[in-house]
């Protein structure tokens, strides 16, 4: 079937159009919930099945990439901008994650959003997101990828601000969009530079060009690092890396399934996908890779520290996501692209599970998100608890759960990769892993264990979520537990080869493995120690490190910094400098001045016309004298 890939992409779009037109107040709510569910969930599942079919086709053809041309977007002179889809191993993995996790989250949403007034709108948006995400993943050229890239941003914007009656939600959506746009500016420049250098935007061709380029080809050599960094700027926006990470925690304002799908499992990993997809460029650009590794590990560490003290269940998970994305970039930065994708996948499983679990908690508590008002929920919502615990263990790196495998591989390559691995990277990564384990178990404890800190009104109606939600949780927990056994790096290796490891480092592998397990356990123990008993220990600790705590809970005041350094100056420049000084004073002022000059000139001339005949005659006399004098010129 030659239009399979197109169909995969278009199915969610169809869902968006159907639900968007028929099931929203825009179209007058013409259909009921069953229709919305059937379309909203059915089409993504269909897409998922088609992806599987495509994967089978791919395997049948010996993993030769499937290229499917949809249509020509534009042709200008010699430049051809085509819309084409591309399906290879990497695409297959991503598409499976996107449609798979996407589908289950759709199903979860049926329960979660059951009582929302805008049920149809929600599913329309979700489908729209899937459409763009698939476009992003399946696109052959950077242009198509960019369309999806921007499109998922839009969907994210719409979904973060889904409950737009509260302006804060809408504001968070706007912030996400703007921050992404800043990254996109870099993306665009990178794309332009690539096009300028290579004359094509097809990513397979770009990779090929860079890998075959001889060292003497100056265009490629100059631009590779620059291209890499520019594109990475785009990735930092989408994947919430320093310095553009600020939007993701705020994005938790959206409904929880959205956080799970978009802001944990799929969209935020687009940056990772981009770098992995353009591995050809980055292989030729060690400087850019170093930047990526540094930014990645810094983000991982930094976000983990913030996550330590957050009290909002979703905020903890958000910073955790930022941190985990940092891990992925760390892997990318040291050339372990397959590993990054591996972690991307496992992260999709356990983070989706965590978010959905958190959603289940919030759902159960009627909207409460503050950890300090939870506790002891394990007995009341056991399925949620168990699945949440599994996912927590997975992210913390407890073997043999999924997170253990992927994170360990990342740390290993951070240490040993011949493409920029270093002990320093490993140290920071390991410290982050420790913190990850700690704050995740802290979260687990504060939410489910210990004694209840809930008010009676909140506590009384607490109940387990419906099957559509718990079923999904169980599925994801299972994947979180077992996902590590999928040998994804190996599967991807023909396409994304793993970096070589210097011989003399091989014997460290076991040692590091042990250390990382111990770190996970240490995190678990520390959390138990601090949160297992009374809160006195924590309070004492908090008082002891009051300054540090303030910094951490204030998220290092990055938002405030940006506001002071960028936001206010921008408004000041626009308002005071441009509008008041520029437009009103200088430009309009000059014009009004000229107009006034003209008018007053008219007034003066009018006064000269004073009605006295003799003055008139005198004017004439002066005119004659003046003209006669003038006529002597050139005599």
């Amino acid at each position: 079937m030659s239009s399979m890939l197109t169909t995969i992409v278009l199915l969610p779009l169809l869902g968006f159009v159907l639900n968007g037109v028929l099931a929203t107040s825009f179209g007058g709510n013409r259909v009921g919930k069953p229709f919305v569910i059937a379309v909203g969930c059915g089409l993504p599942i269909l897409s998922f099945l088609l992806v599987i079919q495509s994967l089978l086709d791919l395997r049948a053809s010996g993993y030769a990439p499937i290229i499917e041309n949809a249509y020509r977007w534009a042709r200008i002179g010699g430049s051809d901008f085509g819309i084409a889809f591309y399906f290879d191993r990497l695409t297959a993995v991503m598409a499976l994650i996107v449609t798979g996790v996407g589908s289950v989250i759709h199903i979860y949403s049926v329960g979660y959003m059951a009582h929302d007034k805008s049920f149809g709108r929600f599913f329309a948006y979700l489908n729209l997101f899937l459409f763009f995400m698939l476009l992003l993943v399946l696109g052959r050229s950077l242009l198509v990828l960019f369309v999806g890239w921007e499109g998922v941003g839009l969907a994210s914007y719409l979904l973060i601000g889904f409950w737009f009656d509260d302006l804060a939600n809408a504001r968070a959506g706007k912030k996400a969009f703007i921050t992404n746009r800043i990254g996109d500016a870099g993306f665009l420049l990178g794309m332009f530079l690539l096009y300028q250098g290579l004359g094509t935007l097809d990513m397979d061709r770009i990779n090929a060009a860079f890998s075959t380029a001889s060292n003497g080809s100056p265009v490629v050599m100059i631009s590779a690092s620059l291209v890499g960094i520019l594109l990475f700027i785009g990735a930092t926006g989408k994947s919430a890396q320093i310095p553009l990470h600020v939007w993701l925690p705020d994005a938790m304002a959206g409904p929880t399934p959205v956080s799970a799908l978009i802001h944990a499992a799929t969209m935020v990993t687009a940056g990772v996908y981009l770098v992995a997809r353009l591995s050809g460029v980055y292989l030729a650009a060690p400087e850019a890779s170093a930047v990526i590794a540094t930014v990645g590990v810094a983000t991982a560490f930094f976000a983990a520290t913030v996550a330590l003290v957050q009290t909002d269940i979703k905020k903890v998970l958000a910073y955790s996501t930022v941190s985990q994305l940092g891990f992925m970039f760390l892997a990318l930065g040291v050339g372990a692209y397959g590993v990054a994708i591996f972690h991307l996948m496992t992260h999709a499983f356990f983070k989706a599970c965590l978010f959905l679990g958190a959603g289940s908690v919030i759902h159960a508590l009627g909207g409460e998100q503050d950890l300090r008002k939870m506790g002891g929920l394990a007995r009341k919502i056991p399925i949620t608890f168990i699945t949440f615990a599994v996912a927590t263990a997975a992210i913390a790196g407890i073997p043999p759960l999924a997170g253990f495998f992927s994170k360990d591989e990342i740390l290993w390559y951070a240490f040993a990769s011949s493409r920029g691995g270093s002990p320093l990277l490993w140290c920071v990564g390991a410290a982050t892993a420790l913190m990850t384990a700690f704050y995740m178990f802290r979260l687990l404890w504060l939410t489910f264990l210990g004694s209840s800190r809930m008010t009676v009104e909140v506590e009384h109606p607490v109940h387990e979520s419906p099957l559509s939600m718990t079923g999904v949780l169980m599925l994801l927990a299972m994947l979180s537990a077992l996902g590590g056994f999928i040998a994804l790096p190996h599967f991807l290796e023909p396409q994304l080869p793993l970096p070589s490891v210097p011989e003399h480092l091989h014997h460290f592998e076991t040692l590091l493995l042990v250390i990382s397990v111990m770190l996970a356990a240490a995190g678990l123990g520390l959390a138990w120690f601090l949160y297992g008993g009374s809160s006195a220990r924590v309070d004492r600790l908090q008082q002891q490190f009051a300054g540090a705590h303030r910094w951490l809970s204030g998220k290092y005041f990055i938002d405030e910094l940006y506001e002071q350094v960028i936001g206010r100056p921008l408004v000041w420049v626009s308002d005071t400098l441009f509008l008041r000084l520029g437009d009103r004073f200088l430009l309009d002022g000059t014009l009004h001045g000229l107009a006034a000059l003209g008018r007053s000139g008219g007034g003066v001339l009018g006064r000269l016309q004073n009605g006295n005949l003799q003055w008139y005659a005198w004017f004439a006399m002066v005119g004659i004298v003046g003209t006669l004098l003038w006529s002597w010129r050139h005599v």
């Binding site: 929203t24 107040s25 825009f26 249509y71 020509r72 977007w73 534009a74 042709r75 200008i76 002179g77 430049s79 242009l143 960019f146 369309v147 921007e150 499109g151 839009l154 914007y157 601000g161 737009f164 009656d165 509260d166 302006l167 939600n169 809408a170 504001r171 706007k174 969009f177 703007i178 746009r181 800043i182 996109d184 500016a185 665009l188 420049l189 794309m191 332009f192 530079l193 096009y195 300028q196 921008l570 408004v571 420049v573 626009s574 308002d575 441009f578 509008l579 520029g582 437009d583 200088l586 430009l587 309009d588 014009l591 107009a595």
Partner: protein, 516 residues
């Protein structure tokens, strides 16, 4: 008389239909407003249908005029009535014809004062705009160019808002100043043709052959550019625009933003740069800087406006800066991008002004702070609004993306080799202009945020959502926005030849004595 038979005749018909419409209106009764409205709409629709028919018959790969009519007008001066379609104008003519019926329909309920005069003026401005685009004779072009001011002056001045007099006088004095110097340059140019080549002709096709020293070219281009830059408008000649937009009635704003601003960029493309290639080369750093400053400056100003019309007005300055950037890049991609940015801006800004007009009709205020949560109150309205907002932001799949992307790509592509040659200004400008992408999102989303989201409030409650007429208007625009965003290739084939011709003309030196 009509060199190309039926299509040429139809083209003349397209041009003169509005005049015919004025005639019809004059003889029709003046107290039956509905009759007047529908009559106008019918004539405009016929004009659009005919234009669309011509569009389908237009062959974009041909360089030069199609469906040409050329009749001597003032033979002694070499002035002729010469109109025709070419790649430069075909999309803009189409845009003008497309927006015509929509503008008319949008005014059905908004205009209740001096209805007949209003539609006469709409016809007048439509006629002049069509003429400006179609004219292939510089004199004819100038006549149409200036004629356009008069109905616009009245449209703003009679049916405008509180400060309409100030706004309309400012508008006309601004634009007329540019035109005056253009007139001088135009006469000089034709005279130069006469003295150097012995040909007395105002035909643009003849005038692009004039060879002049670069200093003279520079002066002439400066005069032309002043006029066009005011119309575009480019920083620092833009301050008429916010006032004119804010005070104009909806229909006026739509015409202004939708078509009239493109006159400036069209003028640059059709006349300014091709007539004076060497001067263009010389002034490119200046003009390009100004375009990029316009992009940023307009966006920044849009960011701090409280009046919703002003936001869109300043956004126009920003968006048209892109057009200029694309034209100046002299790269085929950039040129095509510029053309599409023109069309896109016409649709999007026109649509947004229509939407502002619709809400203004209901609430009678344009203060952003007066609104909130319209997504709850007016779901249909909000969807259309969101789509147009995103198109304005330049989100992929909308027309805004097509234009912006191609312009930026073209500018960058052209700037990079220059950068490698040692001059970094174009590259810096191209990079800075990318910041417009961010700023654009910033001000439009700020607008949408305050407008659509938050607690529902509006000065007049309850509000009724869009009616069928309004829905149809917006639906047409949205369809066009997506069509151009998703399938720009087909229209691009129509402008292909012209883009190449433009590139060729501007990059070929025409200093006397040098080999061509």
């Amino acid at each position: 008389m009509f060199n190309a038979g039926l299509p040429a005749f139809v083209l003349n018909l397209v041009l003169f239909l509005p005049l015919f419409g004025i005639g019809l209106l004059i003889v029709s009764p003046s107290d039956r407003h509905d009759f007047t409205r529908w009559l106008t709409l019918a004539v405009m629709t016929v004009q659009f249908v005919l234009t669309a028919w011509l569009y389908t018959h237009f062959d974009g790969s041909v360089i030069g005029l199609q469906f040409e009519t050329r009749l001597p007008w003032i033979a002694a001066w070499g002035v002729s009535y010469q109109i025709g379609l070419d790649g430069y104008n075909v999309l803009l003519v189409m845009l003008t014809a497309f927006l015509g019926p929509l503008v008319v329909a949008s005014a059905f309920s908004a205009i209740t004062k001096d209805v007949k005069l209003f539609y006469v003026m709409i016809f007048g401005v439509q006629f002049a705009m069509m003429g400006t685009f179609l004219a292939q004779d510089l004199f004819l072009f100038y006549v149409f160019w200036e004629t356009m001011l008069i109905p616009m002056f009245l449209l703003i001045g009679i049916w405008g808002g509180e400060r309409r007099i100030y706004a309309t006088i400012k508008f006309i004095l601004y634009t007329a100043f540019g035109s005056i110097l253009m007139l001088a340059a135009l006469i000089y140019l034709v005279w130069s043709l006469q003295t150097t080549a012995g040909v007395t002709s105002f035909a643009i096709a003849d005038l692009v052959k004039v060879r002049l020293p670069v200093e003279v070219q520079t002066w002439l281009l400066a005069a032309f550019a002043l006029s066009f830059a005011i119309k575009v408008p480019m920083f620092p000649l833009h301050t008429w625009l916010p006032d004119a937009h804010v005070e104009a009635p909806t229909a006026g704003s739509v015409i202004l933003a939708g078509v009239m601003l493109k006159m400036g960029t069209y003028g640059f493309m059709k006349l300014g740069f091709p007539l004076f290639p060497d001067a263009t080369l010389r002034l490119t750093p200046l003009l390009m800087t100004l375009s990029v400053v316009s992009v940023v400056y307009g966006a920044c100003l849009a960011l701090v406006q409280d009046d919703i019309k002003k936001i869109i007005a300043y956004s126009s300055i920003s968006h048209l800066g892109y057009v200029m950037l694309g034209l100046l890049s002299l790269d085929l991609i950039g040129i095509q991008g510029a053309v599409f940015q023109m069309v896109s801006h016409g649709l999007v800004a026109g649509g947004l002004f229509l939407m502002v007009g619709m809400i203004y009709e209901r609430c009678h205020t344009r203060q952003l702070a007066a609104y909130g949560g319209l997504a709850r109150l007016l779901p249909v309205y909000s969807v259309f609004f969101m789509i147009l907002t995103l198109a304005s932001v330049g989100l992929p799949t909308t027309s805004g993306f097509t234009g912006e992307f191609l312009v930026l790509l073209g500018a960058f592509k052209a700037a990079w080799p220059i950068y490698q040659g040692g001059h970094s200004l174009p590259l810096i400008l191209a990079v800075v202009s990318v910041s417009g992408v961010v700023l654009g999102a910033l001000y439009m989303l700020r607008f949408a945020l305050g407008f659509l989201y938050g607690v529902a409030k509006a000065p007049h409650l309850p509000l009724s959502d869009l009616n069928g007429r309004e829905k149809s208007i917006l639906a047409l625009i949205v369809v066009a926005v997506f069509a151009i965003g998703l399938f720009p290739d087909e229209p691009m084939r129509k402008t292909e030849g012209a883009a190449k011709a433009y590139q060729q003309l501007v990059t070929t030196s025409r200093i006397p004595g040098r080999a061509p």
